[in-house]
């Protein structure tokens, strides 16, 4: 499991994401976070892992740990269809620009988020947004895609989908 960007040319520089190697780490991050958030992209509707779409894994995580979700269309409708209601329509970069602002009080008006999970976007689009957050905010970011996103604080390495599913399933147990 090499810590190499999934798109070969997307070399970030000296600051790179730490690797997620097990579910315990993710669980610890969720427990430590005061106010986590998840941002889901439409590629989650296309990527199938062990016979299940990425969106299904992500919605299950959001449900289990009560994490509010930001997404755009058509993903919004798909998440609602899966019975999750704490979902807000917003564009990825717009969401990142809000999260970056410490004075933003979030969707509940009680304060900004301190941990952002992100997954399911075109690789470069997510890559760039994570770069924006890395450089211009103190928010911790975790990519939940099954490939390495170097601009996140934490990311899975580019890995076999079965191994990824094993870790996520442990998180869902």
């Amino acid at each position: 499991m090499k810590l190499e960007p999934y798109q070969k040319a997307e070399i970030p520089g000296p600051s790179k994401a730490f690797a997620i190697s097990n579910a315990k780490l993710l669980l610890a991050k969720i427990k430590k976070a005061k106010k986590p958030l998840m941002i889901i992209g439409h590629k989650s509707l296309e990527l199938e892992i062990n016979g299940k779409l990425l969106i299904d894994y992500l919605v299950e995580i959001a449900k289990k740990y009560r994490i509010p979700v930001i997404t755009s269309t058509p993903t919004y409708l798909e998440i609602k269809r899966r019975g999750y209601e704490t979902v807000y329509p917003m564009n990825l970069i717009e969401a990142a620009s809000m999260v970056k602002d410490p004075s933003w009080t979030g969707f509940d008006g009680k304060g900004n988020y301190d941990l952002v999970f992100i997954a399911g976007f075109p690789y470069y689009y997510e890559w760039l947004t994570l770069s924006g957050l890395k450089h211009f905010s103190s928010i911790e970011t975790i990519s939940l895609d099954p490939y390495y996103q170097p601009h996140a604080s934490w990311s899975f390495p580019t890995m076999k989908k079965e191994e990824w599913a094993k870790i996520i399933n442990e998180l869902l147990e």
């Binding site: 070969k8 409708l77 564009n91 075109p122 947004t129 770069s131 890395k134």
Partner: protein
């Protein structure tokens, strides 16, 4: 016309006061006096003169920067690590560095159009004379809205354009110099210069297009410009074929002229890629368009082109090599794109043809456009029987056998800009099923990075196009030829409904074909908004892509909708350099409908456009630096731009914050009071993740503070309808856009009233909006 740099030298003059020797008087500019419009405050503005306007926009629309890289590697101090806002050795921080890179892109874009315009104007002056009139047809009095607005001059003859070009070149130099280490450092000033680059870019493009329209007699504001053949399947494969590629049309026109002169029309096919193709079909009735620049490798590898003639911009840089593979001959014609070829400009045409056809030289460089015409035609006629449409496409059997060599390393997928599942399609092919490869054809942007990355050197792009060959040869569509400017009559008819909001918006689909999900999304979006009676304008590769889809009746959007600049129109203005006709239409509305002075009056007109004209640019596949500068020209004029996901690679967005009420106040020019007008338009530069998101945002970004209640209700109808369609609920910001109950769409009244009540909504005023205090007619108190 203004006269520039007037100098008077007097050796000796005696007056009552004394004697003066070696007297020299120098005057910067003298402006034309017979033009009734007074010179505004900013003729030929320098890079600082519109800074205050830029800062007003940047206060509302804050950049969100997304660095490609943690480093700066511009100078030998570096590389400098700018992570987490560390400063580099020169003192720059990450925000400054990102804004600097955006400026570099826009300066390159402006320089490219300026270089294009300069070459074109010089060529046309040489061929047709300096006094050639600049007529845009009898229905166009404002021939050059950008030149008038920015420079304050009214060009009447082609020579007059040189004055504006001198200005643009001067500004590009200053902008580039500001990027040097130890010059500009603050992001806001870089961003202001980005806007400046965009503004002068629209001047440069306008110069290029009005010069070629006037001299070559392209359609002049003609809503019924002819329908032109479009697609890889429109070329007659039995005929010798010349392929023209690029943006600067004179060499392609020389080919058409030579064919006409020699009575060879119908014997040789002339077809083009990218903007040269669009401009050639504005001139010649027999020329054809293959498609956007992303069709380059497809068409060349299909073997149909016998001679490839390239000029400048967006030309794939290894076409000499690609031409060799199929035995096609190659002619480069621009000093900006010489491709390492020998310069044969001064050699006799027949000798050049012999050397090309015999294979002595696979490619040549010719700067004499007339000679290009002769050589290209003669070479095509001579080489066609020899090469017999040699191609590099493969048979199914060859693909299947080759695919068996795949080692499943996934390098092709990791190299593809869209991570298309190339390897899996190849693996299917190895089992005899080519359908997945053929499916990739619809989404592939033609960059061929997959085959460059292949560990076992499989020609993967050729696999894709070979598997879809049938589809490719069936690509036969229609596009309306570029019509050029919007006429004054059209502006008179639509000025009021646009400014009042009764025509819900003008949507401009422009730019390159770097689509994240194939090209079908463009015709779908065009159709959706044309149906909704928006005015659709198009240019360049986006205009071609829009035509490459047929509805169930077999019609493209150009056959389905009229070509007038009016509600429900689908208006192809032309090539990349025709974009200023779109932004120029907004300037003309200010002049013709609102009677504002536009001469050297940029800030006031931008304020007018920003607050009143519901226009949005959509560059769904924007790729180039030129696309960046075109967009920035729209921004400074107050027109928001939406890009597709790849547009995020411009590395910064300009986003408003609708949750901050304080950002959305304007002055009421009638009363001098500050009035909240809501986030209209909410963003200035926005990446949409999907076409559905883009469509909702297009409708929303057409909302303007000046909308009448009827106009606002119409705009809200479309915004809410699209939002409900794609999100399944009411938008959460309607209360910000409803000023009075009369703004509420009738068909949604009950639902929206209930929503407003829940939000604690209160009525708001509808001002005569401006961001410029100097335009207030009555001061408060």
């Amino acid at each position: 016309m203004s006269k520039k740099d007037l100098r008077v030298k007097i050796g000796e003059v005696k007056t009552e006061k004394g004697t003066m020797k070696d007297l020299e008087i120098s005057i910067g500019r003298i402006f034309e006096e017979e033009w009734e419009e007074p010179v505004g405050p900013t003729p030929f503005p320098s890079i600082k003169d519109l800074r205050n306007w830029d800062f007003k926009l940047l206060k509302r629309y804050k950049p969100f920067y997304m660095p490609f890289c943690d480093l700066c590697c511009f100078c030998t101090y570096g590389k400098c690590d700018l992570t987490k806002n560390k400063r580099g050795a020169c003192g720059i921080d990450m925000a400054g560095q990102q804004a600097r890179i955006v400026l570099l892109a826009c300066a390159i874009g402006a320089a490219t159009h300026c270089g294009h315009a300069r070459h074109l104007v010089e060529h046309l002056i040489e061929e047709y004379g300096r006094d050639t009139p600049l007529s845009m047809g009898e229905n166009v009095e404002i021939e050059a809205p950008h030149v008038r607005l920015v420079c304050g001059i009214r060009p009447r003859k082609i020579k007059d354009l040189e004055i504006a070009l001198d200005y643009v070149e001067n500004q590009v130099t200053h902008l580039l110099s500001a990027i040097h280490t130890g010059q500009e450092g603050h992001w806001m000033d870089f961003e202001s210069k980005v806007f400046h680059a965009g503004m002068i870019d629209h001047v440069a493009m306008e110069i290029a297009d009005i010069a070629q329209i006037a001299v070559y007699n392209f359609p002049k504001a003609d809503p019924d410009a002819p329908l032109v053949e479009l697609g890889a399947g429109v070329v007659d494969s039995k005929k010798p074929t010349i392929l023209v590629v690029g943006h600067n049309v004179p060499p392609a026109i020389a080919i058409a002229d030579y064919l006409t002169k020699e009575n060879l029309v119908g014997s040789v096919e002339v077809a083009g890629l990218c903007c040269t193709a669009i401009d050639l079909t504005r001139y010649s009735s027999f020329a054809k368009i293959i498609g956007p620049m992303s069709w380059t490798l497809r068409f060349i590898r299909s073997g149909l082109a016998d001679v490839i003639v390239v000029d400048e911009q967006c030309v794939r840089t290894n076409l000499v090599e690609e031409a060799k593979k199929i035995g096609a001959l190659f002619i480069a014609t621009s000093e900006k794109n010489c491709q390492g070829l020998p310069n044969r400009t001064n050699d006799p045409a027949d000798q050049i043809v012999d050397d090309l056809v015999s294979g002595k030289q696979p490619g040549v460089l010719i700067f004499d456009t007339e000679k290009v015409g002769e050589v290209a035609v003669k070479a095509a006629l001579a080489v066609a029987p020899k090469r017999k449409k040699k191609r590099s496409l493969l048979t199914p059997k060859e693909i299947i056998e080759g695919s068996k060599k795949c080692i499943k390393c996934q390098e092709c997928i990791k190299a593809c800009p869209d991570n298309l599942p190339v390897m899996y399609a190849v693996n299917d092919a190895a089992r005899g099923d080519l359908s997945k490869l053929a499916e990739l054809y619809e989404k592939c942007i033609g960059c061929a990075r997959c085959e460059s990355a292949c560990s076992v050197n499989l020609p993967l792009h050729t696999y894709i196009i070979s598997a879809a060959e049938k589809k490719m040869t069936e690509e036969k569509f229609k596009i309306r030829a570029g019509r050029g400017p919007i006429s004054d009559i059209e502006i008179r008819e639509v000025g009021q409904p646009i400014v009042f909001g009764e025509i819900p918006g003008v949507v401009a689909f422009v730019g390159c074909p770097n689509y994240a999900n194939g090209g079908k999304e463009i015709p779908e979006m065009v159709d959706e908004f044309a149906k909704r009676r928006y005015i659709i304008t198009l240019s360049g590769c986006a205009a071609m892509t829009a035509g490459m889809f047929k509805d169930e009746e077999g019609k493209t959007v150009y056959e389905k909708y009229h070509g007038r600049f009016d509600a429900g129109g689908v208006v192809n203005v032309g090539s990349c350099v025709s974009n200023p006709h779109i932004s120029g239409a907004a300037i003309k509305i200010a002049r013709i409908f609102a009677k504002r002075n536009i001469r050297a009056n940029y800030e006031e007109i931008a304020d007018y456009v920003y607050n009143r004209i519901g226009a949005v640019g959509v560059a769904w596949g924007a790729m180039s630096q030129k696309a960046a500068s075109i967009a920035s020209g729209f921004w400074r004029l107050g027109v928001p731009v939406i890009v597709g996901p790849h547009g995020s690679k411009y590395r910064r967005m300009l986003l408003g914050r609708k949750d901050r009420d304080e950002d959305w106040y304007v002055w009421d020019a009638r009363t001098g009071k500050k009035v909240y007008v809501g986030p209209a338009p909410e963003h200035l530069f926005y990446t949409a993740e999907t076409k559905e998101e883009a469509m909702v945002m297009i409708a929303k970004l057409c909302i303007r503070p000046n909308d009448t209640t009827k106009g606002r209700a119409i705009k809200l109808t479309h915004y809410i309808d699209l939002y409900k369609k794609f999100y399944g609920k009411l938008p959460d910001d309607i209360h910000l856009y409803v000023r009075t109950k009369a703004d509420i769409p009738l068909t949604m009244k009950d639902e929206i009233l209930a929503y407003l009540e829940a939000k604690g909504w209160k009525e708001k005023a509808t001002p005569d909006p401006t961001l410029l205090p100097r335009l207030i007619r009555k001061k408060e108190g």
